[in-house]
Structures are given as structure tokens and as C-alpha cells.
């Protein structure tokens, strides 16, 4: 196979952080190369440099044997390298078609006017080609959900027919349907003799999809595995530099949850997201809620936290109804949102600001006066307990890796000593080391008598961690499953679809 991409001794620093240290990677025609590593290992940095998003401090890059130095992402895309990024990259206030042809609208200019008919038709063809024909090109992008906006981005990249495609942790935000679309694009490119660089934290997924796998750690290449060398434990050990101690998920299967009901929802209805939905959550229970992306589970999380009002139905926490978010917080309920960077954290604020803001009533004198000594004590306790990797509590959250950001989002509610936590996709976009720590933390909280509603799109996580699992379909409860050694993903999927 012919070499398509070569990166030689590329280094990059962000201030005091060495993001890449003499990294060299090569990829070939007709292969899917996986990049894996913990948060902050340098995967996104090296690919974003190749895709023109930023410049390297040193090193050389090649594209089919020629020197490669794109001026921008757009320049790289025009020359044959496309990248689908982890976070949202669409403009909400314009149409899907305009998003797909952003920067190329001039090609559709007819005199003083834009030929919208051709623009929409071409955009729709791009969407149809990638299997996203349920999205209409004339729609305003802002009305689409996260997954569909992501599919619009994919259509935008594929419209340029790239020779090398970088998929950066995109699948973590997608449901199975969205993932299938990406897998099909990746396989099509591979069969056409093109190259795909695939970044994911999902080890099973990356082992399934990729032909080779390169592991990065602390900005350095650790090892490249050929397909016949793929072995889960060996890859994990390369990633984190040590063997994972203990179990990934909890290993007890006996239900010792007591009968005390802490949350009771009855006949909740909200549009087509919740339909006559009822359940109970007990003290010291992890209640999993799973389903396809549009099944209503994310809406359920927001309703239970008082962030969305149900049209009908009631829910109570310890026998009292919840009227608002602040009311939920007074009742010791906490909520970690799925969309971490926009809903759970203020990125341009410090770790201290983010953790302290939810607890001003806890450490403030008479609930209004903030004393720095009390605040520092309150925040530092979480920074230490959660082992947040940072230069100090005053470090801005935007400079943290994904896993450490998620720890801050957790810390905000743990510091309040929340008794009931609603966790919406809590391990989305975090590496296995942090994932294991999160699972351990959830289990410890359960053992301490706290209750957790675990909303997740990862079936293994739901099966591995939940005492009970509610499977949702079209806003309804499709099935309630009890924790069991025999429970498999196939058992759950049949009720989801």
C-alpha cells in the first residue's frame, strides 16, 4: 500500500504544556489508522495540525510524498484533507445547505443573486450520499439536535471528497445510527483506496474499525499495533503506562438496594420526548436509563432537575415536589449535563469558580458573604479528592483536558454533598483511566447511600454499573431490566429499536 500521510518529528507546546514531543506517524492508502490515548495525550493536536487548524512548532509533514503545510482547515480540505472535530462546528442561524457550502456560496452566485435552488439541491445530495437523508438541506441548522448538526458537518467535509479523512472522537456524540453512518463512510473511503485517521476513546470500537492502532501518551508515540496484535489489555497498558488495577465496572450482582424511595416520577409527559413515564429511584441505587439518542432520556434528565417543565405528570424528591433548578439543588439534587462544555462548565472561568458557584450557599457566611479561606478549602477538597490535574484551582477550565473538565463538572455537585445525582453521559469523551475513576466514584457514592440516575448511550456502561436499567423508546418506558450477570447488550437492544 502507498504511503498517503507522513508526519515527522512534529513538536508542539501550549505554554508550559508539551502537547507533542517529536511525534512521527505514517498512514497508507486504503487503511483506517486508529489513534488512541488518554485525554491530553496529543491525538487531537497532531491531527488538527495536519488538518490545518494550527501550526506545529517544529517537524515536517507530507501528503502523498509532497511537503504538506496547509494555511488553514479550509485550505487543507480543498487539497484533500478533511477533519470532523469532536465539538460542534456548525453555524446555527443559517440553513443546512449554507453550512455545507459555507465559504463556497460564491460558486452559486448568478449575477447579484444566489441560486438557492441549486445550493439546496447539491447540499441535499451530499446529505443523501452519507445516509443522512432525514435532514432537509433547507432547514435552519439551529433547529437540529447535536447529532444531526454533526451529520451536517460530516456532509460538509465529504462534499469536498477528501483523500484523507480525520474523524476526531466524533462518534462519542452520536447514537448507533449516527455511528453507523460514520462507519459506512470510513469503510467506503477505505475501499476506494483512501485513508482514514480515526480517534476514539472507545477501545472496542477502535479495535473493530481500525487496521492499525497508534497509541500516544503525554505527547509521545508509545507503540503502533498491527491488526493481529490487537489485545485489549496490552493497548490499555500502553495508553496509561501501567496496568489497570481493579475492575472496570462494579463486580457485584446482588441487589442490596433498600426500599426507601428518594425520587418518584408519575406519568410524566413532554411533547414527543416523554410519554406517560413513571418510575421510582431508591436510596443507594444506580438507576440506568438507556435508549436510542432521540428516545427522550436526555430530556428526562433535564425534567428531573427542574430545568424543563413537564406538560403533565408529577415527580417528587423525598416526597416533595420540585419546582425549579434551585429547588432541586436545595433538595440535594445535582445534574451533570451531556453537553459538558456548554451546559456543565464555564470554560473561561477557573476551576475554583466552576466548583464554588454551586456551593455559595454551602460555604458562604449567612448565604451571602464569600470568604476566600472558606472558598479555597471547599474547592481544594474536590481538586484533591478527584485528583484533578492542574497547576492550581485558579487555572482556567478551558486549559484542562476532557477528563479533567469532567472531573470539575462532577466536583461541582460532589462538593455540595448532593444526595441524588443525575448524570447524563458522564463518561462521554473521557479516556479509560478517567472512566475507571468515574465508575469507582459512582460505586463509592452508591455505597455511601447516594442515588444516581445514570443516563447513557453506552450500553456496556449501563449494564456494568446499573442496579436497574430502564430502556426508553419514543419517550416511553419500553422495559425495566434488573442487574444480572447474564444481561447482555442484545437483551437491551431488542427493547430500544
Amino acid at each position: 500500500m502507498k504511503e498517503s500521510l507522513r508526519i515527522e518529528n512534529v513538536s508542539k507546546r501550549f505554554g508550559s504544556t508539551i502537547a507533542l514531543d517529536n511525534v512521527s506517524i505514517e498512514a497508507r492508502d486504503g487503511e483506517i489508522l486508529g489513534l488512541i490515548g488518554e485525554n491530553g495525550s496529543g491525538k487531537s493536536t497532531v491531527t488538527s495540525i495536519y488538518a490545518g487548524m494550527q501550526k506545529a512548532d517544529s517537524g515536517e509533514m507530507f501528503f502523498y510524498g509532497n511537503k504538506w503545510n496547509p494555511a488553514s482547515m479550509n485550505d487543507a480540505l480543498k487539497q484533500g484533507v478533511g477533519m470532523i472535530v469532536q465539538e460542534n462546528g456548525t453555524v446555527p442561524g443559517i440553513s443546512v445547505a449554507e453550512n455545507i457550502y459555507l465559504g463556497e456560496i460564491g460558486d452559486y452566485r448568478r449575477g447579484l443573486l444566489v441560486d438557492r435552488k441549486s445550493l439546496v439541491a447539491d447540499a441535499q445530495k451530499c446529505l443523501d450520499d452519507i445516509g443522512a437523508d432525514h435532514i432537509r438541506a433547507e432547514m435552519i441548522c439551529g433547529v437540529l439536535d447535536f447529532q444531526d448538526r454533526k451529520l451536517v458537518e460530516i456532509a460538509k467535509v465529504m462534499a469536498n471528497d477528501p483523500k484523507i479523512l480525520v474523524v476526531d472522537e466524533t462518534t462519542t456524540a452520536l447514537s448507533q445510527k449516527g455511528r453507523d453512518i460514520i462507519y459506512s463512510i470510513m469503510n467506503r473511503m477505505k475501499n476506494e483506496g483512501k485513508t482514514v485517521i480515526f480517534i476514539s476513546h472507545d477501545l472496542d470500537e477502535i479495535m473493530n474499525v481500525c487496521d492499525r492502532l497508534t497509541v500516544l501518551r503525554d505527547g509521545k508515540i508509545i507503540r503502533t499495533f498491527e491488526k493481529d496484535e490487537f489485545e485489549e489489555n496490552a493497548i490499555k497498558t500502553s495508553m496509561i503506562g501501567r496496568e489497570l488495577q481493579g475492575n472496570y465496572y462494579r463486580d457485584d450482582y446482588e441487589s442490596d438496594v433498600n426500599g426507601e424511595v428518594v425520587l418518584k416520577a408519575e406519568h410524566l409527559c413532554l411533547g414527543n420526548q416523554l410519554s406517560d413515564f413513571s418510575f421510582e429511584l431508591h436510596k443507594g441505587e444506580i438507576l440506568g436509563v438507556g435508549g436510542l439518542s432521540h428516545c427522550g432520556m436526555h430530556t428526562l434528565g433535564k425534567v428531573l432537575f427542574g430545568a424543563l417543565d413537564a406538560e403533565s405528570g408529577t415527580f417528587t424528591v423525598n416526597g416533595e415536589s420540585v419546582r425549579s433548578i434551585s429547588d432541586a439543588m436545595k433538595k440535594q439534587v445535582g445534574y451533570v449535563a451531556k453537553d459538558r462544555d456548554t451546559e456543565s462548565l464555564s470554560l473561561d472561568a477557573s476551576i475554583k469558580d466552576n466548583i464554588a458557584i454551586a456551593g455559595l450557599d454551602k460555604f458562604g457566611v449567612r448565604n451571602f458573604l464569600i470568604l476566600p479561606s472558606r472558598e479555597n478549602k471547599y474547592v481544594n477538597k474536590q481538586v484533591e479528592a478527584l485528583s484533578i490535574k492542574c497547576s492550581g484551582a485558579n487555572q482556567y477550565v478551558s486549559a484542562l483536558s476532557g477528563g479533567n473538565k469532567q472531573k470539575v463538572a462532577f466536583g461541582k455537585w460532589l462538593a455540595r454533598e448532593s444526595e441524588l445525582l443525575i448524570l447524563d453521559c458522564p463518561t462521554r469523551g473521557v479516556d479509560i483511566g478517567v472512566k475507571q475513576a468515574m465508575y469507582q466514584l459512582m460505586y463509592e457514592m452508591r455505597q455511601a447511600g447516594k442515588s444516581i440516575v445514570l443516563i447513557s448511550e453506552e450500553m456496556a456502561e449501563l449494564i456494568g454499573m446499573s442496579d436497574r436499567l430502564l430502556v426508553m423508546k419514543d419517550g416511553r418506558l419500553a422495559k425495566e431490566l434488573k442487574r444480572s450477570r447474564e444481561l447482555s447488550e442484545a437483551d437491551v437492544i431488542q427493547y430500544m429499536i
Binding site: 507546546r13 501550549f14 505554554g15 508550559s16 504544556t17 508539551i18 502537547a19 491530553g40 496529543g42 487531537s44 493536536t45 488538527s48 487548524m53 494550527q54 472535530v85 432537575f305 430545568a307 425549579s324 433548578i325 434551585s326 432541586a328 439543588m329 445534574y335 449535563a337 456548554t342 451546559e343 456543565s344 462548565l345 464555564s346 470554560l347 473561561d348 472561568a349 477557573s350 469558580d353 464554588a356 458557584i357 454551586a358 455559595l360 450557599d361 458562604g364 448565604n367 451571602f368 458573604l369 464569600i370 470568604l371 497547576s391 482556567y396 478551558s398 486549559a399 483536558s401 461541582k412
Partner: protein, 325 residues
């Protein structure tokens, strides 16, 4: 280069970014002193003049920090101040009481500010939209008030009535008291911390139980107090009020805040001292350009260029922080 050196360099860079506005102020002051010596200008008189010019902008800008921190914007500050000063002056003319004048200045300014934020809350609009509507209404209000209560062009308070408080010490006292209260509220009360967080990410703030509308109203009330004090000080400094009173205050406040190192997007990097440092720097800059015999057109252009440069530098630092890792 070893890691420790890099960390030290980063820390130094951060400190430089934080102290740059203060260093700018010191440089301006040094330049002013050099020019004053060269041109044989009466320094105490000039200093008093600078203080008189800047104190009103500092007071209003200090209050405005509470609005800008929220990531919001108020274009009607100057018009609010003009209306408040007119009503304060009319109150004095009816009662001969300076206390009544102060109370009416404060009450009017707080009321106008509150109405802006309450309307925004009721109609679920960005607050700056209601401040634009308020600007038109206030401009019309100024004309009506002057027409009905003055000579047709002006409203006057007898200069003798305010001469006792038209002193540098009184102005400094008002400024220091308001600054101290604002710094306390901003840094040590729940309100200030919540305002900063809302400015950083309103949706995250809402999902952390913060009532963004209520905080906006409280922020605008704090700004209203600054505007009311500014109106009161305006009457004491220039007791003849016209439709042009405080006409440049809105723009002066924005430029001062940015000069002082306040991020244009608000949020947790907001600082009260930005108002003080910025307003003093701006007044000194104007004074220096005056001493260099540059006309006011060039002076405005220089301010505009510095404004854009400061915003560009502060945003480029921010851009670097959010690069992917």
C-alpha cells in the same frame, strides 16, 4: 528549555497581561509629568482638572462593570445620566435640598436602569435591545424636561448652592465610597460571584440554579446607582444642564472599561479596577494630546486605534487559551 523555566515564563506572561493596564496608566502619568515640566504647566491645577474630568466617568464606569460582566451592554447610560441630573436639579429647585437632589438623581437612575432590565426579562429580550429603545425614550424625555422646566435650552441650579460640595475632596469621597462598596459586592458577595459566572456561560449558570434575569436586574440596579451618583456629581461640577449634558459619557465608559483591561465578553476575568485604571488612562491620554496641541479629531482617532489594539490583544490571548490540546 526546562519545564520550570517555561512555567515561570507563563506566569510572568499572565502577570504582564494583568498589570499591563496599570503599567499603561503609570506610563501615561509619567508622560504627562514630563510634558508638564517641559511646557511649564501648573501641575496641581492640571491634576485637579484631570480628577474633575475623570471622576464622573470612573463612578459611572464602576457601576457599568456590573452590566458588562454579565456579557451585556447599555447604550443608554449617558441619556439616563442626563435625565437623572435634570430631575435631580428640578428637585433641588423645588426643595432647596441637596439631599433631595441626591435622592432624585439616584432614584431616577436606578428606576430607568431597572425598567430596562425588567422589560428585557418580561419580553425575554437581550437587555441591550431594551437599552436601545430606552435611549430614544430618554432623549425625548430630556427635550420635554428642559422645555417644561427650564429656559427652553437649559435647566439650572444656582452655582452657590453646590459650591460647598464642588470640591476635590468631596468627589474623591463619593468615588472611594462607591468603589469600596462595588469591590466588596463584586468580590465578596454572592451577587458579584454569580454575575461573573452568568457572564461566562449563561446556560451553565441557569443549570447551576442561578436566576439570570434576577441577576441582570440587580446588575442594572448597581449600574443605576453609579449613574445616579454620576448625575449628582455632574450637577455639582456644572450646574447648568442642557440636552448635551453627559452626551459622551456612554462612549467614554465603554472605552475606559476596555482601556482598563476588562474583557469585552464579560465573565470571570472582569475586574472593578478596570473602570478606575481605564478612565484615568483615558483622561490622561486626552490631556497629553491636548498638551501636544493635537486637535480633538486626531485625539479621537488615537483613542479609537488604541481601543481596537487593546481588544485585539486581549482576544488573541483568549484565543490561545482555547486551542485544542
Amino acid at each position: 528549555m526546562d519545564n520550570e523555566k517555561i512555567i515561570r515564563r507563563e506566569k510572568i506572561k499572565n502577570i504582564i497581561f494583568q498589570v499591563a493596564p496599570v503599567v499603561g496608566l503609570i506610563i501615561m502619568f509619567a508622560l504627562f509629568m514630563i510634558l508638564a515640566v517641559i511646557k511649564d504647566i501648573n501641575i496641581p491645577y492640571s491634576m485637579k482638572n484631570i480628577l474633575n474630568q475623570s471622576v464622573i466617568v470612573v463612578v459611572v464606569a464602576t457601576g457599568a462593570i456590573f452590566i458588562y460582566t454579565l456579557g451585556s451592554f447599555d447604550i443608554s447610560l449617558g441619556a439616563n445620566m442626563c435625565v437623572s441630573a435634570l430631575i435631580g436639579a428640578m428637585a433641588y429647585n423645588r426643595t432647596n435640598s441637596l439631599l433631595a437632589m441626591l435622592a432624585f438623581c439616584l432614584g431616577t437612575a436606578v428606576l430607568i436602569s431597572s425598567v430596562c432590565s425588567i422589560l428585557a426579562s418580561v419580553f425575554n429580550l437581550p437587555v441591550f435591545v431594551t437599552t436601545i429603545a430606552m435611549l430614544s425614550m430618554l432623549n425625548a424625555g430630556v427635550l420635554m424636561l428642559i422645555g417644561a422646566n427650564g429656559t427652553g435650552d437649559i435647566v439650572q441650579v444656582p452655582a452657590a448652592a453646590v459650591s460647598a460640595i464642588n470640591t476635590t475632596w468631596f468627589k474623591l469621597l463619593v468615588l472611594v465610597a462607591y468603589l469600596a462598596i462595588s469591590i466588596f459586592v463584586f468580590n465578596f458577595l454572592k451577587l458579584g460571584r454569580q454575575e461573573k459566572f452568568v457572564g461566562g456561560n449563561p446556560e451553565c449558570a441557569r443549570l447551576t440554579g442561578l436566576n439570570n434575569s434576577r441577576l441582570a436586574i440587580l446588575g442594572f440596579i448597581m449600574a443605576g446607582i453609579g449613574v445616579g451618583l454620576g448625575a449628582f456629581l455632574t450637577i455639582t461640577y456644572a450646574p447648568t444642564l442642557s440636552r448635551n449634558t453627559a452626551s459622551s459619557v456612554g462612549m467614554d465608559v465603554i472605552i475606559s472599561i476596555v482601556f482598563g483591561g476588562m474583557p469585552v465578553s464579560g465573565g470571570s476575568r472582569s475586574k472593578i479596577y478596570s473602570a478606575v485604571v481605564g478612565a484615568l488612562s483615558m483622561t490622561l491620554l486626552s490631556q497629553i494630546m491636548l498638551m501636544l496641541n493635537l486637535n480633538s479629531g486626531i485625539s479621537q482617532m488615537v483613542k479609537a486605534i488604541i481601543f481596537i489594539l487593546v481588544v485585539y490583544i486581549s482576544m488573541s490571548d483568549n484565543r490561545k487559551n482555547i486551542l485544542p490540546r
